[in-house]
C-alpha cells in the first residue's frame, strides 16, 4: 500500500506538464476551435508519434509501453488542466480500454499496432440519438452472416472526435434469437459509413453522428465473441469513465489556478479581491473539491490496475468508476461556475477562457453519464432496494 506517485510517475507528470505548457495556450486552442478538424494536429502527432503516449497503456507486444492506468490518469489530468484539444480521450482514454477488455491478446496486437504508434485516431460509437449511457441507448444492429461476419445498420451519435477518426469502435445489438451486444471495429472509410460533424456548445471537443447502411464486415471486425460483449464492454466503459474523470480533475485544477491568479491581481476597494473572505472562501471550497477529486481519481486509477492484474473484481471497478465520474463531474462544473462568478463581467465574455472551462465542464458532466446517473448506479451497487417513484413517504 503506497498511495503516492513513484519517481517514474513524477517524471511522466513533469513531462506532460511541460508538453501541455507548450501546446495548451489559449491562442492555439482558439485557433483550433475554428478549424474543421477541431483538434490540434501538431500536438496530437507529437504526443502520439514522438512521445508514444497513445500507446502508454497498451501491452508491449502491441507496440505500447505496458504502463498502467495511473500513468494514463496523469496524462489526462495534465491535458485537462489546459483543455488541450486532441483526440487523446477518444482514442487512448475511451477506445483503447474497451478494445483491451473486449478483444483477445492476438486480436488486440493486430488492431492496435497503428494506434500505439500514434498513427490512428479511434473513436467509440456507444450511444444513439438520445446520447444516454447504457445498452438501451444503442441504435446499431449487427446482423450476423456466415463465417462470423455480418452487416451493420443504424446510427450512433455523440461520437467524440468521430469525424476525424480512422477507425470506429461500434457497440451494436446482435440480431439473433439470444440477442446480446457485439463490439466491432469499423474503418471510417468502409462503404456504407456516413459521418456528420456536429457543432457542440463546447467547441474544444467536437462530436459526430454516424450512420451505418448495410456496412459489410468480415469476422476480423468482431472483438471477442459475437453477442457476448455485454460484460467486457461494460468493464471497458468503466475504465473510460475513470479516464474522463481524470481529465475533469485537471480541468477543475486548471480553472482554480486561473481564478486564483486573477483574484490576486484584481484590485477593488484598494485591496486584491483575493483578500476578501467572500472571495477566498469560494476558492477554498474549490480546492476542497479539487483535492477530493484527486484522491478519488488516483484511487480509481489504482483500482483499474488492480482489476487488470486480477486483484480486484468488476464490482470494485464499477464502484470506483461511478464514484469518480459522479464526483468529478460535479467538482469540475462547480469550479468552472465559480470561476465565471469570481471573474465578474470579464468571465462572461467570449474572449476570456472561463467560458471554455465552463462549457467543457458541462459537456464532460454529460458525457458517459451524468452525476445523477452514476449515483443511481451506486445506490444499486451498495445494495439499496429498487427505486419506486411516488411512494407513501
Amino acid at each position: 500500500m503506497q498511495f503516492a506517485f513513484t519517481a517514474e510517475q513524477e517524471m511522466i507528470r513533469d513531462a506532460a506538464r511541460e508538453f501541455v505548457a507548450g501546446h495548451g495556450t489559449s491562442a492555439r486552442l482558439r485557433a483550433v476551435m475554428e478549424t474543421q478538424a477541431g483538434y490540434d494536429t501538431d500536438a496530437w502527432h507529437e504526443l502520439g508519434r514522438e512521445l508514444g503516449w497513445v500507446g502508454l497503456m497498451l501491452p508491449e507486444e502491441a507496440g505500447g509501453s505496458g504502463s498502467g492506468m495511473v500513468e494514463l490518469a496523469i496524462l489526462q489530468e495534465e491535458m485537462g488542466r489546459r483543455l488541450l484539444a486532441t483526440p487523446f480521450l477518444a482514442t487512448a482514454g475511451m477506445t483503447v480500454p474497451i478494445i483491451l477488455e473486449c478483444a483477445g491478446a492476438a486480436q488486440t496486437s493486430r488492431l492496435l499496432t497503428g494506434l500505439a504508434a500514434g498513427e490512428m485516431i479511434a473513436a467509440a460509437a456507444l450511444t444513439g440519438d438520445s446520447g444516454l449511457p447504457g445498452e438501451a441507448a444503442i441504435a446499431v444492429d449487427f446482423t450476423p452472416s456466415g463465417r462470423g461476419g455480418g452487416r451493420l445498420n443504424g446510427h450512433a451519435s455523440f461520437v467524440v472526435h468521430g469525424h476525424v477518426a480512422d477507425v470506429l469502435l461500434v457497440a451494436a445489438n446482435t440480431v439473433q434469437p439470444e440477442g446480446g451486444i457485439s463490439v466491432l471495429v469499423v474503418p471510417r472509410s468502409a462503404s456504407g459509413v456516413h459521418v456528420t460533424r456536429l457543432t457542440t456548445m463546447d467547441l474544444t471537443r467536437p462530436y459526430a453522428r454516424v450512420e451505418f447502411h448495410d456496412v459489410e464486415l468480415s469476422a476480423e471486425a468482431l472483438l471477442g465473441s459475437m453477442g457476448k460483449a455485454d460484460a467486457p464492454l461494460a468493464n471497458g466503459l468503466r475504465i473510460a469513465e475513470i479516464a474522463l474523470a481524470a481529465e475533469q480533475l485537471g480541468g477543475a485544477a486548471g480553472v482554480l489556478e486561473m481564478t486564483t491568479e486573477y483574484v490576486r491581481q484584481r484590485v477593488q476597494f484598494g485591496r486584491p479581491i483575493g483578500s476578501f473572505q467572500a472571495v477566498k472562501h469560494r476558492l477554498a471550497d474549490m480546492l476542497v473539491m479539487v483535492e477530493a477529486a484527486r484522491s478519488a481519481v488516483y484511487y480509481a486509477a489504482c483500482t483499474v490496475d488492480e482489476y487488470r492484474a486480477g486483484a480486484a473484481d468488476a464490482k470494485a471497478l464499477a464502484e470506483a468508476a461511478a464514484l469518480v465520474k459522479s464526483y468529478c463531474s460535479d467538482a469540475f462544473f462547480n469550479c468552472a461556475s465559480n470561476a465565471i462568478q469570481l471573474h465578474g463581467g470579464i468571465g462572461f465574455t467570449w474572449d476570456h477562457d472561463a467560458q471554455l472551462y465552463f462549457k467543457r465542464a458541462r459537456a464532460s458532466a454529460t458525457l458517459l453519464g451524468s452525476s445523477t446517473y452514476h449515483r443511481r448506479r451506486i445506490a444499486e451497487l451498495i445494495g439499496l432496494d429498487a427505486e419506486t417513484i411516488g411512494g407513501e413517504r
Binding site: 498511495f3 477566498k280 480546492l287 486483484a311 443511481r376 451498495i382
Partner: protein
C-alpha cells in the same frame, strides 16, 4: 502508486483482528459499539489499559515507549480492524493521538521517558487546553498566563487563567496548554506549551451541558496551578510552533479509525432507510449514494495524507481534510433526520435519552466548529494552500 497489502501485512491483520474480536466478544463485550465519548468511562479506561498491556495502544510508537514500531500499512490495518470489530471510541485518544506524538516529536528525552510509557499503558489520560473564552478561532489571542517561580520544589510554572471546550477533562490526569509566558507579547510570540497536572488545588473543572444534553466539554480554571519548569515542550516562548504541530497530528492514522465510525453511522442510516422504506425514495437514494461517495473519498484522502510522508508540513490534501469530513458528517446528520421522519422527533426515553440518528444529527453540528470552524478552515486553505493575501486584522 499501488493499493493492496502484502501477505505479511494480511497475516498481521489476522493477528490483530483475532485479538480484538476476542476482547469484544469476551472481557469487553459490554462496551462493544459504544459511540458516546463519555458513557461507561470506568470500563473504557480498563479497555485502554488492556490495549496498553497487549501493546495495541500506540503501535506506531517506538517499542521503548510501549509501541511496536509499526509501519504505516500496519497502522492502517489496525485502525480498520479496530473499528470493524466494534471496539469503542478511544477515551485515551487525546494522549495517544495528540499529547504523545507532540512529546515524541518536540519533547526532551526526559519528557518522553516520563510521559509516553504511561500514555501507552492507559495509566494517564490527557486533555487539550487550547481554546479560551476570548481565544476561539483567534487562538493566538490566549490570555492564560504562566510565570516561572523559584521555590523550595525548584523552578515551577505558576498558571492563572481559563480554558474552555476542554473535552474529557473530567477523566484526565494531565492537560497540555498554550499560555502566555512573556509579559506584553501579543499573537503567536511569547506563547509556551506546558504540560500541567490536573489533580491539584489550583485546577477546577466545570462541565458544560451540550446541545445533546450530555457533558463532554468542560471549562478548566487555573488559579495558581503549578507544573515543574521542565514540563515545557519546546523552548519557553516558542510554543506556538509546537501547538501547530499538534494540530497536524490530528490528521494522522486516527482519521482512519474516525472514518470507520462514520462508516458504521452510514450503515445505520442505510439500515433505517431499508426498514421504513425511505431507501426506495429516489432523492434519498441520491443522498445516500452521495454520502457513500464522500465516505470513500475520505478514506482515499487519508491514505494520501499518510503516504505523503511529510509529517508536520501539511499538503493541500491535509489542509482540506478537516472541512471535508466535518461538512460531510453534518450533512449525514441532516440526512439521518430525513430518513428517520416523524419518529426522529421523539426522544427514546425521558428526560433526554436520544436514539442514535437524532443524536448524530445534533452531535454533528459541533463538527464544523471545533478544531477550527469551517470559516477558519477556509481562511487557512486560501492563505496557506492557495497563497491568497490575509484579511487585515482589526487590532494590530
Amino acid at each position: 502508486m499501488k493499493l493492496g497489502f502484502t501477505p505479511e501485512q494480511e497475516a498481521f491483520r489476522s493477528e490483530c483482528s483475532a485479538w480484538l474480536r476476542d476482547q469484544m466478544h469476551g472481557a469487553f463485550a459490554d462496551i462493544r459499539g459504544e459511540t458516546s465519548l463519555t458513557a461507561q468511562a470506568e470500563r473504557r479506561m480498563e479497555w485502554e489499559r488492556a490495549l496498553g498491556a497487549a501493546r495495541w495502544s500506540v503501535i506506531g510508537w517506538p517499542e521503548r515507549y510501549g509501541g511496536r514500531d509499526a509501519d504505516l500499512a500496519s497502522q492502517v490495518i489496525f485502525a480498520e480492524e479496530y473499528a470493524r470489530c466494534g471496539a469503542p471510541g478511544r477515551l485515551g485518544h487525546l494522549g495517544t493521538e495528540l499529547a504523545g506524538p507532540t512529546i515524541l516529536h518536540f519533547g526532551t528525552d526526559a519528557q518522553r521517558e516520563r510521559f509516553l510509557p504511561r500514555i501507552a499503558a492507559g495509566e494517564e489520560f490527557w486533555c487539550q487546553g487550547y481554546s479560551e473564552p476570548n481565544a476561539g478561532s483567534d487562538l493566538s489571542n490566549v490570555r492564560t498566563k504562566a510565570r516561572l517561580e523559584h521555590g523550595p520544589q525548584g523552578a515551577q510554572w505558576v498558571i492563572e487563567g481559563q480554558k474552555i471546550w476542554t473535552s474529557l477533562a473530567q477523566f484526565a490526569q494531565w492537560i497540555f496548554i498554550v499560555c502566555r509566558t512573556e509579559e506584553g507579547t501579543r499573537g503567536p510570540a511569547g506563547i509556551s506549551y506546558l504540560l500541567v497536572p490536573m489533580h491539584q488545588p489550583g485546577v477546577t473543572v466545570r462541565p458544560i451541558r451540550q446541545i445533546t444534553g450530555e457533558s463532554e466539554f468542560n471549562e478548566v480554571f487555573f488559579e495558581g496551578a503549578r507544573t515543574p519548569a521542565e514540563y515545557c515542550v519546546g523552548k519557553p516562548g516558542e510554543g506556538w510552533k509546537v501547538a501547530m504541530g499538534t494540530l497536524a497530528f490530528e490528521r494522522g492514522v486516527s482519521t482512519l479509525a474516525q472514518q470507520m465510525t462514520f462508516r458504521n453511522e452510514f450503515d445505520a442510516l442505510v439500515a433505517a432507510a431499508r426498514d421504513n422504506g425511505a431507501s426506495r425514495d429516489p432523492l434519498i437514494r441520491q443522498r445516500l449514494a452521495e454520502a457513500w461517495i464522500g465516505l470513500r473519498i475520505m478514506r482515499y484522502s487519508a491514505l494520501r495524507m499518510l503516504s505523503s510522508g511529510t509529517e508536520g508540513a501539511l499538503g493541500p490534501e491535509a489542509l482540506t481534510y478537516k472541512i471535508y469530513w466535518a461538512t460531510w458528517r453534518r450533512k449525514l446528520g441532516e440526512l439521518a433526520m430525513d430518513i428517520a421522519g416523524p419518529a426522529g422527533e421523539l426522544v427514546q426515553q425521558a428526560p433526554y435519552d436520544l436514539s442514535p440518528l437524532p443524536r448524530l444529527f445534533l452531535y454533528s453540528r459541533a463538527d464544523t466548529i471545533y478544531a477550527g470552524t469551517n470559516q477558519i478552515q477556509r481562511n487557512i486553505i486560501a492563505e496557506r494552500a492557495l497563497g491568497l493575501p490575509k484579511e487585515p486584522r482589526g487590532d494590530r
